[in-house]
Symmetry: C2
Subunit: 290 residues, 2 copies
């Protein structure tokens, strides 16, 4: 499976950003990618950096956005993983991955299930927690376990996708540093982010793809200094081994041929699914066991 | 919390191995360790390398072993994590961690829940899967989430320990390479093993300790060339950051002061427990969802 990850910065506005992305998708297609994965909320700036009711206007184009990216998938004849701002109803919004088939039809949608809320990442203000559950999306290239950003910290999400037959996990992401943090803290954060996603590959014996944006984005309400998105998009194999990765600054199309047959071999030598103690996991369904 | 990990090889026999371990525990005590963690089945060779009914004799000393290590804990005034071969009844054996309080009393036991079975690691022949569940053990230094080896590949075990209030995870382990595997494969295996345990630290915001043996041990039935145990015992902090580690060959007491207050701070910036979608995790209780 030849995949392409597209890591880029927000440009001046949505129009310029989308144009840039489309140019990169064309490049991915020229290099014969079958699957193209975009970063979280790739059309625009990361607007959750503050809480501003006017930002809900950004979801007014939801229906048009779907039409637009459907065309892009079709024109390039690729399976396309997009990440959009869904207006479901007045006052009801989701952070939604829309997956398009090569012919432009919608293969499936995933509404981000785990919603963060930290200074600079005010997502609970904008996004209603998803109600799609953790369902892999059937496509012509396989069953894709598409999850979004904060989901990546939850082994439960990865596991359920794997148990439902996902052949690969794909995480569109928007995560970054505050410049005020020490070099050591920034290193720890980036490493933790890579480590836990590699671990999902290990625990479930399948490849993991993560796509993150780059560039510093300012807070237009000036409550924060802004976020420096750390890129480092990567592809890991079923033993968690890094197969390909990008730096914390470059804008690039990362192409890689994933050997999907290796998963079968890895699961034979490490048959973790065989030995799960499902008779003793009910505690997982509790908030805390006190 | 000053912890000591003791990484060593099997000596000629049980007597020599235990003597060596006791010398190292004394060294840990001299360096003011409060908690001493030993590797999996540390008293003897890793006998699961083949299936031999005579090896069940090694569990005949179970009651005496408990008395012995109780004395060691008391003499050194340390919380001691041991890993023993439990004879529970005729034909019923467990791979059991016994945790001793500083005064030599048994603080708790944990029977290995996930049992592997791979060529050279024939544990399903020897060990009945544990029935203790995933219960942290209350001690004078805190609640210890003791798990054993194969458990380390299961995010569920780590999560349940954390939800039950474990303040640290401790994994006595016996894992190694076959010399016949390529350098790249050995590297991937070791990295996967470290990565998934670091990820348990990240996912749950607590430190993780792993103690593995070193040295090559032969198969006395000569079905295999033997196992080269890869050591690499380590301590990771609550962001998965490696705080201290050993090489793949050295025999050593690794001492480290873990800052337990940092866990609180890390869980404040990364409040993963807050956002778990327990309403959507029931799939975890299934073998597979087909």
């Amino acid at each position: 499976m030849r995949v392409a990850l597209i890591q880029h910065a927000f440009k001046k506005n949505k129009k310029d950003t989308v144009e840039f992305t489309c140019k990169m998708i064309k490049e991915a297609k020229e290099k014969k990618a079958e699957v193209v994965a975009l970063q979280e909320l790739h059309q625009d700036r990361y607007f959750c950096i503050n809480e501003n009711v006017n930002n809900f206007d950004l979801a007014n184009s939801w229906e048009d956005d779907i039409k637009f990216w459907s065309n892009v998938a079709k024109e390039n004849n690729v399976v396309l993983i997009t990440s959009l701002f869904e207006k479901r109803s007045s006052g009801l919004y989701h952070n939604t991955a829309v997956i398009f088939e090569k012919d432009g039809t919608v293969a499936g949608k995933y509404r981000k299930m785990h919603i963060p809320d930290d200074p600079g990442f005010y997502e609970k203000f904008y996004f209603t927690p998803g109600d799609t559950g953790f369902e892999p999306i059937e496509t012509s290239v396989g069953k894709l376990g598409v999850l979004v950003c904060w989901d990546q910290w939850y082994p439960e999400a990865a596991r359920i996708m794997a148990l439902k037959g996902a052949e690969i996990l794909i995480y569109p992401t928007a995560i970054g540093w505050f410049d005020g943090d020490s070099k050591e803290e920034r290193q720890r954060q980036k490493e933790a982010w890579i480590t836990i996603q590699r671990a999902h590959a290990v625990a479930n014996g399948l490849p993991v793809i993560s796509i993150n944006r780059v560039g510093k984005e300012k807070d237009d309400m000036s409550m924060l200094d802004g976020i420096r998105f750390w890129g480092n998009s990567f592809i890991a194999g079923p033993q968690g081994e890094i197969l390909a990765s990008l730096s914390s600054e470059e804008e690039k199309v990362l192409i890689y041929d994933i050997d999907m047959k290796r998963c079968e071999n890895v699961r034979r030598i490490w048959p973790f699914l065989r030995d799960r103690r499902i008779d003793n996991y009910e505690g997982i369904l509790k908030r805390f066991i006190d």
